[in-house]
Amino acid sequence: MPKKQMKKKKKKLSKSDLDLSVIMKSQQKAENKNLNLKNPLITASGTCGNGKELADFYDINQLGAFTTKGITVEAQSGNKTPRIAETSAGIINSIGLENPGVENFIREVLPETKEYTLPILANISGYSEQDFISLAEKLEGREELAGIEVNLSCPNIKGGGMVFGTDPEKVFEITKKVREVYSGYIIVKLTPNITDITETALAAEEAGADAAAMINTLSAMKIDIDRQKPLLANTFGGLSGPAVKPVAVKMVYDCYKKLNIPILGLGGVRSGADVIEFMLAGATSVGIGTINMIEPAAGLRIIKEIENYMLKHQIQKLSSIIGAAH
């Protein structure tokens, strides 16, 4: 080995050498269709409002991407309260997709995102196949958005979301129809409440999804032993937080070798170490959700922790560790 190269190899990486960027490749085989992120962190839908709530705490532009609160065709007032229950290292929520509807979203929420420099993803939910198609049509061509996250996994609405997300054929059908009308980046968000998540993940890929997000919350409930009744007004909800992380990591691990499209891994992430774990399992990007509710500026801390990990292990390109645990 030439002397010069040896010397270069020995040089210890410093913070300025680190490259945290990742590329979420698109199936549309055009470079400009890819989702380029300066780091793998993406806010999980419904945990960060529409961004401005977190602006008091830090500049969210430092994240990889931002996902808006889930929207539906019509405005929804959501479920009755209580909508949240605490469990060991987790929370069960049943918000019920409270949102202003897609028209108001376009009129009121999207303009607010214009000042952001990071990619914005709109999370869409529906009660029927047609809902998803209508939403995708309405969002097609919106310059404010880098893409959409198709939520085929909300456990908190009757007859929608999760029902589609547990059936690979439905996942295929809806994804395909959304692909036909939407030209931006499409992420399909999958439910863990299923025997084999690789089946729905493959169905999404086959139908043209650019990426698969996993996992949405785990179906759960809590009973108030004093009232001797379910604690949540909606009886059931979805479990998130550190408690679900091992389940999510395993599902990402299961899917990584079978899928060609990138994975957005999420579930219980609250530290840089958790992000690294998801990436080693095979996630290209990683969602942060519940932690934002507890520590609004968690994203910044997590980025610093990732950098520290990279320095400790002398990793220059973060993307080099994707799937490395296999």
């Binding site: 419904g46 309260t81 949240i84 550190p242 509710m293 507890i294």
Partner: protein, 258 residues
């Protein structure tokens, strides 16, 4: 940085928490709350912060006071924390009481731990015309509050469910007795939702304006999770968040469960 300077039991299962702070993003107003992480650093249990309304605030001494009852895992942990412990605290959060009623005949009605935010309010109202109606389970629960409100020189009336003070019964019944004799221009109330609903009903029936502070199960406290949404009577039926648009609302603004 927030540091505990006192954490004492001031009634049966009722604690006074006094924090010293370095700096605050803004001056806390009556009715606002702080969201406190009660678990030990690095622990996920309990995961969520706990919202506590401000009992008292002293800018000169850099002190914030809270009164809380030990009810669950979080408050139990909090009650065991010793002096000098540093706490992870977010706040002040939420919409405060409006204070422009100071010249008028004002009634404050508080039930149980709902008394806590009314003290800082009474202090800031600085009105000799304010009358305060408080209720709890028994005198022991009221001792601390009684002493503090008396220091303010306000007209104070007390009721308890388990023993006869001025009456044996709730703060609501106590207040209703006086309402017939002395109609206020404005009311402020905080306590169990059923009490708030009853105060609201009586006040509106008598054309009395006022504000109430709701207690809702919160997730984040900063408006992102929509766990504490309150249904409203407004035309567009848009929900309001107890943590941002609340916890203080105008009488009649949100739908309470009676």
């Amino acid at each position: 940085m927030f540091k505990i300077i006192a954490n004492n039991e001031v009634g049966p299962g009722i604690f006074q928490l006094v924090l010293n702070y370095d700096q605050l993003p803004q001056k806390p107003e009556p009715g606002q709350f702080f969201n406190i992480k009660v678990s030990h650093p690095g622990s996920d249990d309990p995961l969520l912060r706990r919202p506590f309304s401000i009992f008292d605030f002293d800018a000169a001494e850099k002190k914030i006071e809270f009164i809380y009852r030990v009810v669950g895992k979080g408050t139990k942990i909090l009650s065991k924390l010793e002096k000098e412990t540093e706490l992870d605290v977010l706040g002040p959060l939420g919409t405060p009481f409006s204070l422009n009623q100071y010249k008028r005949n004002v009634h404050l009605i508080g039930g149980g731990m709902g008394i806590a935010p009314l003290y800082y309010l009474a202090k800031k109202l600085k009105s000799s015309k304010q009358k305060v109606y408080l209720g709890a389970a028994n005198q022991a629960e009221l001792n601390f509050f009684e002493e503090k409100f008396k220091e303010l020189g306000v007209e104070l009336h007390l009721a308890a469910m388990e023993e006869k003070l001025e009456i044996k019964g709730s703060a609501l019944v106590l207040w209703l007795n006086y309402l017939k004799k002395n109609t206020p221009d404005y009311v402020y109330t905080c306590g169990p939702e059923k009490m708030l609903a009853a105060v609201e009903k009586e006040a509106l029936k008598n054309n009395i304006g006022g504000q109430l502070s709701v207690e809702k199960r919160m997730g984040c406290g900063i408006g992102v999770c929509l766990s504490c949404s309150c249904e409203t009577r407004e035309e567009d039926q848009k929900n309001k968040r107890a943590c941002v648009e609340g916890p203080v609302f105008e009488l009649g603004e949100v739908i309470l469960s009676a």
